[in-house]
């Protein structure tokens, strides 16, 4: 598969604080890339910088081998992003959450937008909730709506920042199942998660971050069964105990 995303020497600072240090990574079309690491290691910062939400101090982001700045990345809907806190628009219905960006950003007609929305909502299995407001839905349903909203914009790559961390345990699987479906359908994804079982199943590549650096980058099999670094071993010991 051709290369879809390359990141070269990416550095992100918050004022003086160096949150993401000299990151290189590369992703082919259809690959699933999992990022894990302890709290404060820079996972969110990295994924936000990729998405165009943080301005890197230096480094390059290439989409299909073409360098792009944050503005281009945002304008061209390269990425869809799913947040820990869902970030749905509370004043709009589930359906409107999806049609509004289609109509206002993509300038698609209302009827066509509704058709697209129905399509993505049935993909995530909440079409029957379409007329409710987000606050009337369970966390799992809200997160699936957020995924549908991103998908509707037809992004090249989906980014997930701890999509199940704010969910009650019994709702985690319904969201992970949707993500698994997406992966099978060939979507390229970058996922920050603490769900190690899920990571092992779905990932093509997995990295461990600490202190803003990539400590280990490996295949899931090696990462879990035969990690290269002591740091990975102790991280796995910690998360797998819980």
């Amino acid at each position: 598969m051709p290369n879809i995303l390359s990141i070269k020497n990416l550095n992100v600072f918050y004022e003086k604080f160096h949150a993401v240090k000299d990151i290189d990574l590369s992703l082919n079309e259809g690959e699933i890339f999992v990022i894990c690491g302890p709290s404060g290691s820079g996972k969110s910062t990295l994924i936000r910088a990729i998405a165009g939400l943080e301005k890197p101090k230096s480094g390059e982001i290439l989409i299909n081998n073409k360098a792009m700045n944050e503005k281009e990345v945002l304008n061209k809907n390269i990425f869809g992003m799913v947040f820990q806190q869902f970030n749905l628009f509370p004043h709009l219905s589930i359906l409107e959450n999806i049609t509004l960006p289609l109509m206002k950003v993509k300038k698609i007609s209302k009827s066509e937008s509704i058709e697209i929305a129905h399509g993505v909502l049935s993909k995530v299995k909440i079409l029957d909730q379409k007329d409710k407001h987000p606050s009337k839905l369970s966390g799992g349903q809200q997160q699936r709506c957020a995924i549908a909203r991103s998908l509707a914009m037809n992004p090249k790559i989906m980014l997930f920042d701890e999509p199940t961390s704010a969910l009650d345990p019994e709702m985690i699987n319904e969201v992970l199942d949707v993500m698994t479906d997406l992966a099978s359908a060939g979507m390229t994804m970058i996922i920050v998660t603490h769900e190690m079982g899920f990571a092992k199943k779905i990932a093509n590549k997995i990295i461990l971050m600490d202190n803003g650096e990539i400590i280990e980058s490996n295949t899931p099999n090696n990462f879990f069964n035969n990690p290269e670094t002591e740091r990975t071993k102790s991280f796995l010991n910690q998360v797998l105990q819980h």
Partner: protein, 215 residues
């Protein structure tokens, strides 16, 4: 005893003046809401310098006595070549005074809305402007209605100050009547009732909209 006949006799004049007060309050509040929305939008999408200017404006409208501000507008408008009658001068003055408060009301409402929504909007491809219009403002307006209702009460009360620039609103007419007939208690009582009525009606309308705008 109260002279009820006298109170009825002056009622048409008092009612006409109340209508002027109501008009001024309604217009001023509408303009200050529009100014507040516009300024808060500019503040949220602009850099430091513009924000400092807006900050100065807010501090000015809040810090300088309203009577002084009204006089400034009254004398300043003709000076820069704008000739309004007393009524519209009063509206301009109260609109600016109100805007100092509405900017802060809207700004606080924005700060209370989870920032994640705007980030989600940004990734979906919304411009800053679209984020404001489609995501923030609909929510801000709902959240701001209770403080706006308070501001409405302030505007009605501040409109009394326009008597100094001879706007024929309730307080001015009240004073005129007192000095024409040398009757005090009845006139004060009637004016007080009118102010309370005006405020009750406006608050009622505002509460109605608060209920209408469900999230």
């Amino acid at each position: 005893m109260l002279d009820i006949d006298f109170m009825i006799e002056i009622l048409p004049r008092v009612l006409r003046a109340s209508l002027v007060t109501l008009e001024i309050s309604f217009l001023s509040l509408s303009f200050s809401i529009l100014l507040g929305l516009a300024f808060s939008m500019v503040a949220l999408t602009s850099g430091k310098f513009v924000n400092i200017l807006i900050r100065c404006f807010v501090e000015f409208t809040r810090g300088v006595p309203q009577l002084v501000q009204i006089s400034i507008i009254y004398f300043a408008l003709p000076y820069i070549g704008i000739f309004f009658d007393e009524f519209w001068t009063g509206v301009v003055a109260l609109s600016f005074i109100g805007a100092g408060y509405t900017i802060e009301i809207f700004r606080n409402a924005v700060l209370n809305i989870n920032k994640g929504q705007q980030e989600a909007g940004k990734i979906l491809g919304f411009s800053n402007y679209q984020n404001l219009i489609y995501i923030l403002y609909p929510q801000i307006i709902k959240r701001s209605l209770p403080p706006i209702t308070n501001e409405l009460i302030n505007v009605v009360k501040a409109s009394a100050l326009l008597s100094v620039i001879s706007v024929n609103e309730l307080t001015k007419i009240m004073n005129d009547v007192i000095f024409e007939y040398f009757v005090v208690i009845e006139v004060l009582l009637e004016a007080t009732i009118m102010y309370l009525l005006i405020i009750s009606v406006l608050v009622y309308i505002s509460r109605y909209f608060e209920k209408k705008l469900v999230i």
